[in-house]
């Protein structure tokens, strides 16, 4: 999910925008620190890279940390999508069944 958020945000992906994007897409409050914990794990796996950006007065002079998805990250997203599609294949129409029940 985080990789998809990074892909959607492009060059402007840092803590605030990533958390906001996830909140908009999931409708749930996101813990900003958890976003970094996950991104660090992804960075260790070489799926994302980060760089320190500019600081602003409203951030108390603290620098932003921008993230970008790597080629390996894009391949991982494609692979996950393919696996998910395969899992969906052959399943009955869950939505229709739910409506009938």
């Amino acid at each position: 999910m985080l990789l998809l958020a990074l892909q959607r945000l492009g060059e402007g992906a840092y803590g605030v925008t990533i958390a906001r994007e996830l909140e908009e897409q999931t409708g749930r409050e996101v813990v900003v620190a958890s976003v970094y914990a996950t991104l660090d794990r992804l960075q260790e796996r070489g799926l994302v890279v980060s760089r320190l950006g500019e600081s602003t007065p409203e951030r108390g002079g603290r620098a932003k940390r921008y993230f970008r998805i790597t080629g390996a990250g894009i391949r991982e997203v494609r692979e996950a999508r393919r696996s998910l599609m395969n899992l969906w294949k052959g399943l009955p129409d869950l939505n229709l069944k739910g409506e009938k029940a």
Partner: protein, 258 residues
């Protein structure tokens, strides 16, 4: 310049008790979101969760340093109780220096009871010697001792982390070097272990003496009050000593890097 400032206490908490290289960035993100559209309760919730998330993340990422920090802290406390406290006990109590000491009793047949004597000796001593409760000996002195140990735990954890960084590529070292507080998680872990062990041993103490059957007398209630004050002093001492030392290490690190 903005007039909307994030809640100060929550910021202070996260700044001093948050650990890991992303702490400053998280503080910046929270401040930015708070200024834009966040509420004070949202900010406090995020700050509190950030402390826990960073704590567990750092411990998981540096298990070796966490173990070293725990061992350091407990070995120092055992040394303190068995070697230093007995030397100064006569200055607090009217007893013969060659007579009964702090009351640590290591018995292989009763390992839990032995740990209990090491852990809570400053409080149990009063009962063992039949002496009135001494706040200076049972709370103030342990507070100072735990604070010093907390500071040493921070130093050892920091050294261990620095040593582990030597194998990292230069770029990673620079990224880590910009941030302090990697030792904060170790200090928190040690303080947590102190609290947990005290709670477990107090429970054992209660069951062992069958207090639940007979009901606590006034003396026992008083003893538990003293024990609670001692445990609180221990945990606060460790956090204070560890945090102060973390700040000093950070300042030194910043000067060296500048």
């Amino acid at each position: 310049m903005t007039s909307k400032q994030p809640p100060r206490f929550a910021t202070w908490m996260l700044k001093h008790f948050g650990s890991g290289p992303d702490n400053d960035t998280v503080l910046g993100d929270l401040a930015e979101q708070y200024v834009q559209n966040g509420s004070a309760s949202w900010y406090r919730r995020q700050a509190l969760k950030a402390i826990w998330v960073s704590l567990f993340r750092e411990i998981r990422a540096h298990k070796g340093s966490a173990v070293v920090a725990l061992l350091t802290g407990w070995v120092l406390w055992a040394f303190n109780v068995t070697s230093i406290f007995p030397l100064i006990t006569p200055y607090f109590f009217n007893i013969n220096p060659d007579g009964p000491t702090i009351g640590v009793a290591i018995r292989p047949s009763d390992p839990i009871g032995s740990v209990l004597t090491v852990l809570s000796a400053p409080v149990r001593l009063h009962a063992a010697l039949n002496q009135p409760f001494s706040f200076a000996f049972a709370v103030a002195l342990p507070f100072v001792a735990w604070a010093l140990i907390g500071g040493l735990v921070a130093i050892i954890a920091n050294l261990h982390l620095e040593a582990n960084q030597t194998g990292l590529p230069p770029r990673a070292k620079v990224t880590i070097g910009f941030h302090r507080d990697r030792q904060t998680a170790a200090v928190f872990l040690f303080a947590g272990s102190t609290l947990l062990l005290n709670l477990l041993l107090t429970g054992y103490f209660v069951l062992h003496l069958q207090m639940l059957v007979h009901g606590p007398s006034q003396e026992w209630s008083s003893a538990f009050g003293h024990l609670a004050a001692y445990v609180a002093a221990s945990v606060v001492g460790i956090l204070l000593g560890g945090t102060l030392m973390g700040g000093l290490l950070h300042d030194k690190s910043t000067v060296v890097r500048n």
